[in-house]
């Protein structure tokens, strides 16, 4: 008797849930933001009171960078220094590194935080060996970058700005990287050869299936071919070869200057 009631209730509940889910899914979908958290949360590897300094080799580089600017405009060096710190620290900048930079360029730490949070290429949380940055700007979004990201996150089993357990991958979002003609695209920051010799590799014309293949290739240590992933296209050219500009274009009409 009781079990019957329970089963009935369960059936109804499932029905209700079905009804409720549909309209709510649209409304409660979180708005996606390109940047990570805009405030600092203490973690074991990222605390304000941790000592951090540039290496001796990089200190020379800091001096060189500061010499590009007048001595009373030291703060102009904030972006190069943040980049240097990011390269030194495995592709991301801990808060103590920002404090060190603030001391070097003689500004309040908050002025450095402002810059570091503004630019999405400065990572303020630990990233993987391969930092996969999905373009989220309009052309890519229209061509399905959301699905690409979803596929990546599902495949790797992480959330955005989280590192996989083996420390290999992390997924972030990026603003337009200028490959709109081959949208959707991801940029992979490759720190596998040390963060100082890192490269940004673009993989374009992606599908959710292809992006997982790329991830697997990276995991195996292979280097997937960069650029468009559509075999029918050559770079940014149209699919299946050119349709215009089939022969050498005529030079622009130009006045014969020697004639007059």
């Amino acid at each position: 008797m009781l079990s019957k009631v329970a089963r009935n209730a369960g059936k109804h509940l499932a029905g209700f849930r079905q009804i409720l889910r549909q309209p709510f899914q649209v409304n409660l979908q979180a708005r996606s933001f390109s940047t990570a958290l805009n405030y600092h949360l203490d973690s074991p590897d990222n605390k304000p009171d941790m000592p951090w300094d540039f290496t001796d080799a990089n200190k020379e580089r800091v001096k060189e960078l500061l010499s590009h600017y007048p001595s009373n405009y030291k703060q102009s060096a904030v972006i190069p220094l943040l980049d240097l710190a990011q390269q030194q620290h495995g592709g991301w900048i801990p808060v103590s590194a920002m404090n060190t930079i603030a001391k070097i360029i003689e500004v309040a730490p908050i002025r450095v935080y402002e810059v570091a949070t503004f630019y999405s290429m400065f990572n303020r949380m630990k990233v993987g060996k391969y930092h996969l940055q999905v373009c989220g700007t309009t052309p890519c979004m229209i061509r399905g970058s959301r699905e690409i990201e979803e596929a990546l996150l599902k495949h790797l089993g992480v959330k955005r700005n989280e590192v996989t357990k083996d420390g290999l991958f992390s997924v972030g979002e990026m603003e337009c990287m200028g490959s709109c003609v081959n949208a959707p695209m991801i940029a992979v920051a490759d720190y596998s050869k040390g963060s100082e010799g890192y490269t940004y590799n673009y993989y374009e014309d992606l599908t959710p299936k292809r992006v997982i293949e790329i991830v697997e290739m990276l995991r195996r240590g292979e280097i997937p071919p960069v650029g468009t992933q559509n075999p029918d296209r050559i770079r940014s050219g149209p699919q299946g070869g050119n349709t215009t500009l089939l022969r050498e274009p005529k030079p622009p009409p130009c006045r014969d200057l020697d004639a007059c």
Partner: protein
């Protein structure tokens, strides 16, 4: 009667309508096309013929170009500038002329379009623009149309150019602002009913003018994590519209670089990034400048609405600056304190102590006259009994054994009454707490901030001697900071290491450095000499030292040596600590050379709100102590009789600030319990004691003050001190002590009986001072 009148009116209408035949009859044939022809009569008869409403058309309405021409030919009447905006021309050739809505105004070069509009009497809506902060130009609310400009122009950031034709009420400008408002409201929660800013919110007001009743945004609104800025400022960051006023205020005026703009795009937010409280003594001002409810007052949260409160314009007494404040009260309660604009004193800022001390007015109040019984317990008695007992004690002691001490918060009237009373009784042992025992009060210029608070802005070299203006007088400190920021003024400091929110040159900690400067052997002398307007500010803490005469002569030597006093410039300043000090010195509440001896042999001590523990220790055990004040603070535990009196929010009293400006408080709330005005208690006591004071009203008392210090009656005017130089002989070298200068204010948040009773101030000192 009414009927009769109406009948007469009706007959008149009939009569006149017969005189002036109506242009069209009641039949439905309307001669509208012709109505242009006889427009004037038409209007007249229509207004007379009230029941018959007709549409009349003028030629101008049918021809837009002609009407536009007609409008521009009209001479618009001059309008008054917004908020009393002042225009000062440094030289006549710097003036340029612009046209605002067809009205010509003359403005100085370098004014922005927005300022030009203000001079022309047009109020431009704005969020990010604030006249005392740098220009950000990021809210875009102040868009106006400028002729020959393809796009609307952000008027706050656009310099006005000669001959510019600015239009502020065109459809283009209106539509631009409506668009901006729609974008702002996209992410702004519509929670005005539960928002503390509701009713005084810029966004709310301006959405009345430019807001739509609906938006086109269908996505979810942004939400932002609230930040913890300390016990004073409550944050609801989701309401923030990113005007960055608070960021600019913190870094420019308050001088604490804690706040910043983090992130980008729609994820942009104001924050500190790392967990960091806002440790500024001016942090409360971000509540005022925040145009929305993102930063609100934490102690005031959900207490009252701004339209429920009565504003009383008054004066702050927690320090010697005398900031102009508005006390907002509801019924018998002070709900909050806000700054009032006074360019010469506090501009539009006030310190946190001023703003948040008000809950001290509700705690630890003395509300009944009390007498300490033989068992050592206080019991409430009537005024009649208390006065009689004190009068009896007065008659039993020798006049020389009576000592009167006025407290930090005493107004000029009560100090005058006390001085008169004690003098009539035959005692001259009367002084003001905080003056030490030998204040140099012979010359008025010796104890005032002669440069004036506003004048400090122009100083280009400042020497601070034994004073920490950041904690003694935050508003003076804000002026010094302004001078440092705008004209790179050099600041030298002699005193214990302390926090400054601008660059200083820490010259030394003790009188030996002062000596080196006075003898011209210090590099800072060169800075003083090369400066156009050098200033020296000495702290009132120097009064407490034993070598203060030598110190003062050293300071005077520096004055003469560094040429601090020039025509049109007096750079010799003393920064007082307490609201009562300047008036007390003006009125002659000055201890005599042997008064310390008198205090230790006193039989009757009359404390007019004096709570200084250093003085209390010196009172002999067998002395009879009368405490007249409003708070049960340190002194009541030593008192034999308590007279409850009114606090500054409950009485009308004259206070003189450190620059010699007399200002008057106004009663905002009724007094508590049986408390009375200070001077009235003294007047009643004089009657009971048989030495009647000759004044029965505040007016009569002020007439008496006129005889002693007429400057105190010129309210809101600064009474400058005359300059006399070379009054001291340079014999300071031998007498200077070696003891280092101390800190006059140990805890900024707790300096007097009101702030010590305040819970908020206790919270501040426990959290904010700890973080420092």
């Amino acid at each position: 009667m009414g009927l009769g009148l109406r009948a007469i009116q009706r007959s008149k209408t009939l009569f006149s309508s017969r005189l002036f035949p109506p242009p069209f009859s009641n039949s439905r044939v309307s001669p509208l096309p012709n109505s242009r022809v006889f427009s004037l009569e038409n209007v007249q008869s229509a207004s007379i013929n009230a029941p018959l409403r007709c549409f009349h058309s003028r030629a101008s309405l049918q021809n837009p170009e002609a009407s536009a021409a007609a409008v521009s030919e009209e001479i618009p009447r001059p309008r008054t500038p917004v908020g009393g905006a002042r225009v000062e021309f440094t030289s006549p050739e710097d003036a340029i002329e612009v046209t605002v809505d067809g009205f010509q105004v003359k403005i100085p070069k370098g004014f922005t379009v927005l300022q030009a509009c203000e001079v022309a009497g047009v109020d431009i809506p704005r969020f990010c623009y604030h006249s005392r902060l740098s220009i950000a130009g990021n809210c875009r609310m102040c868009l106006v149309e400028v002729e020959k400009s393809p796009k609307p122009v952000a008027s706050c950031a656009m310099p006005a150019l000669p001959g510019m034709k600015i239009k502020t009420n065109t459809p283009v400008a209106k539509k631009a602002r409506e668009g901006v408002m729609e974008f702002l409201l996209m992410n702004h929660p519509l929670d005005c009913p539960i928002c503390d800013q509701g009713g005084e919110c810029d966004l709310q007001d301006q959405s009345m003018a430019f807001g739509s009743d609906r938006g086109r945004f269908i996505d979810t609104k942004r939400s932002v994590v609230d930040k913890n800025l300390g016990p004073l400022v409550k944050t609801v960051m989701t309401r923030c519209i990113q005007c960055t006023r608070c960021v600019r205020f913190a870094s420019e005026v308050a001088g604490v670089q804690d706040l910043g703009m983090l992130g980008r795009g729609s994820g942009e937010e104001i924050g500190t990034y790392v967990e960091n409280l806002m440790t500024s003594e001016l942090s409360g001002n971000v509540i005022d400048i925040c145009p929305v409810g993102a930063l609100t007052s934490k102690p005031f949260a959900f207490k009252a609405r701004n339209w429920e409160m009565k504003g009383t314009e008054s004066i702050d007494v927690t320090d010697a600056v005398g900031s102009n404040i508005r006390i907002d009260s509801r019924g018998p309660e002070v709900m909050r304190i806000l700054p009032r604009l006074n360019e010469d004193v506090n501009e539009e800022w006030i310190s946190d102590k001023t703003r948040f001390c008000y809950d001290g007015l509700k705690r630890q109040r003395l509300n009944d006259p009390m007498i300490r019984g033989p068992d050592g317990r206080f019991k409430p008695v009537t005024w009649r009994d208390t006065l009689a007992i004190v009068a009896e004690v007065i008659h039993q002691v020798n006049p020389e054994e009576i000592v009167g001490i006025a407290g930090l918060l005493s107004d000029a009237e009560s100090m005058m009454a006390m001085k008169d009373l004690l003098n009539k009784l035959g005692s001259d042992n009367i002084w003001c707490e905080g003056d030490g025992l030998h204040p140099q009060a012979d010359l008025r210029s010796g104890y005032l901030l002669n440069t004036s608070i506003a004048g400090l802005e122009k100083a280009d070299a400042i020497l601070l001697v034994g004073t920490q203006p950041r904690f003694e007088a935050p508003m003076v400190n804000a002026r010094i900071r302004k001078a440092v920021r705008s004209s790179q003024a050099k600041v030298g400091y002699i005193g214990p290491p302390t926090d400054f929110n601008y660059d200083i040159n820490h010259l030394g900690t003790g009188p030996s450095t002062l000596l080196r400067i006075a003898e011209g052997r210090h590099p800072f002398c060169g800075t003083l000499l090369s400066a156009k307007r050098p200033a020296l500010i000495a702290g009132a803490g120097l009064f407490d030292r034993n070598d203060q005469n030598a110190l003062l002569s050293a300071l005077h030597t520096i004055r003469d040596l560094g040429r601090l006093v020039k025509p049109e410039w007096n750079g010799f300043n003393l920064l007082l600590l307490n609201a009562a000090q300047a008036a007390g010195l003006d009125l002659g509440l000055i201890p005599r050379p042997n008064s310390i001896h008198n205090l230790s042999s006193a039989k009757l001590v009359y404390l007019l709100g004096a709570d200084d523990s250093k003085l209390l220790d010196k009172i002999p055990n067998d002395a009879f102590v009368v405490y007249q004040g409003h708070h049960g603070d340190k002194s009541v535990y030593r008192a034999n009789v308590i007279f409850p009196s009114a606090a500054f929010s409950e009485k009308e009293g004259t206070y003189e600030n450190t620059e010699g400006r007399a200002q008057r408080t106004a009663p905002a709330v009724p007094t508590v319990g049986d408390a009375r005005d200070d001077w009235k208690i003294l007047r009643a006591l004089s009657e009971v004691a048989g030495v009647r004071l000759p004044y029965d009203s505040a007016l009569a008392l002020r007439a008496r003050i006129r005889g002693v210090a007429p400057g105190l009656l010129r309210v809101d005017e600064r009474e400058e001190a005359s300059v006399i130089s070379g009054a001291f002989s340079p014999d300071f070298c031998r007498k200077l002590g070696s003891e280092d200068f101390g800190k006059a204010v140990e805890n900024f948040y707790m300096t007097d009986s009101i702030t010590r009773a305040s819970k908020i101030m206790a919270q501040c000192s426990s959290t904010l001072l700890k973080q420092k």
